[in-house]
Amino acid sequence: MNLGGLGGFDIVVIGVVLLIILVLFAGIKTVPQGYRYTVERFGRYTRTLEPGLNILTPFIERIGVRMNVMEQVLDIPTQEVITKDNASVSADAVAFYQVLNPAQAAYQISNLQNAIQNLTMTNIRSVMGSMDLDELLSNREVINERLLRVVDEAVGPWGIKVTRVEIKDIQPPADLVESMGRQMKAEREKRAQILEAEGSRSAQILRAEGAKQAAVLEAEGKREAAYREAEARERLAEAEAKATQSVSQAIAAGDVQAINYFVAQKYIEALAAIGKAPNSKIVLMPLEASSVIGSLGGIGAIAKEVFGDGSGPAAPPRPSAGPRPQPGPRTTPVLNPFNPNSSET
């Protein structure tokens, strides 16, 4: 048969060239950064290719697994978790892992992502199941750290490092959320009411204290005033006593007519006061005319004595020497019985 006019030698040449090209294709491998390729010799792992240009031995070596060694994110799907106090919450998470040993990651575990995902899910269940709901909601840091510790240790033999496990969302059932809201509200209301009661209590105490102090001060004022009043009365009495004494001394030393003078003066003053009263046109004289006359008689007696009649009835002899032109009031000590100080001469 004629293959386009080619002989056997021609076909061999074409075959050899094709073979060389194919061998080059199979033997030259470029590994991009961020990946590692494992090399298998007759199906058995021998080495790992680093990023860059690599050459495999044709026919006996081939690429096994193309392993991504960049850090990768793995979503952990939502799942139901029963907490220690029997609340059913749904939680999801996110895990970050990186392949640190490509050969182990390639051959120690099959379906790497699925393995990490399941491992994390079961550990979320066990870690969260050992906590109360309140702890769960407030201690995410603790959960994350415990998860990371457990999961990272578990993936150790696979040449992987789990660098981070984060709980994304913890969702308690709706009715529980509602009652938690009510609880918080009630707690705040309780605090508000306590604060209000405390406020009004201290206000009342302050008010009562104020009233007490006012009453005490008032009583003290009254007491002081009474003391002073008593003192004043004492002083008054003392003064009166002294005045009386002075008058009686004066009488004893002088003439009994001095009394008459006083009485008459007072009487006339009183009459004048009645007469000056501005609101009364009619002056009532509730006085016995005789007594007025009597007092006038007293005045006359004084005058007689002063002006040297000497025959005044009931006038005791005076030790004064001879008649003098001065009027009586000058020589007689003028005493205001209400002003004891004026008696000092």
């Binding site: 074409i14 060239v17 050459i55 060694v69 040993n101 992987i160 660098t163």
Partner: protein, 152 residues
């Protein structure tokens, strides 16, 4: 038909092949087509001079092309592997190795050769001589997940 085309184009068929291969290399970089493309260009250059020579049959041209492709690939690999060392991020994607030289506080004591430190916000299990917790340690070697530390 292909034979007729090659005969009609003469030495330029090698040039055409070389340029097409180089273009393909640019479109889909794999650092492989560039070598056989270069080999095709070299054959084209030789063909311009030797096309009428008696020994310059197509068998010779094809074989020479295949050999040159292999030779260029090997030479290129040597060239590239020397260049490869000149990266400014030698520890890219080598998380453990990038920690060599860092110091940290031992969180859990090293007992029976195993302890724990915290670095870059994650936990690392470390190997080294027995040390109490709280010791300052320095990472001296790393291989994958395994960090070796000693007291700093």
């Amino acid at each position: 038909m292909l034979h007729d085309a090659v005969v009609n184009l003469g030495p330029w068929s090698w040039w055409i092949l070389g340029v097409v291969l180089l273009c393909a290399e640019l479109a889909a970089p794999g650092v492989f087509l560039i070598w056989i493309g270069a080999a095709a260009i070299v054959i084209g250059v030789l063909s311009l001079a030797l096309w009428d020579a008696a020994f310059w049959t197509w068998h010779v041209q094809l074989l020479l092309f295949a050999v040159l492709s292999g030779a260029f690939a090997l030479a290129g690999r040597r060239f590239y592997s020397n260049r490869n060392q000149a990266t400014d991020e030698p520890n890219l994607n080598r998380r453990g190795e990038s920690l060599v030289g860092r110091t940290a506080t031992l969180h859990e004591p090293i007992a029976e050769g195993r302890g724990r430190i915290r670095l870059d916000d994650t936990w690392w299990s470390v190997m080294g001589p027995d040390l109490p917790a709280g010791t300052q340690v320095k990472v001296v070697a790393a291989s994958g997940r395994d960090l070796t530390v000693e007291a700093a």
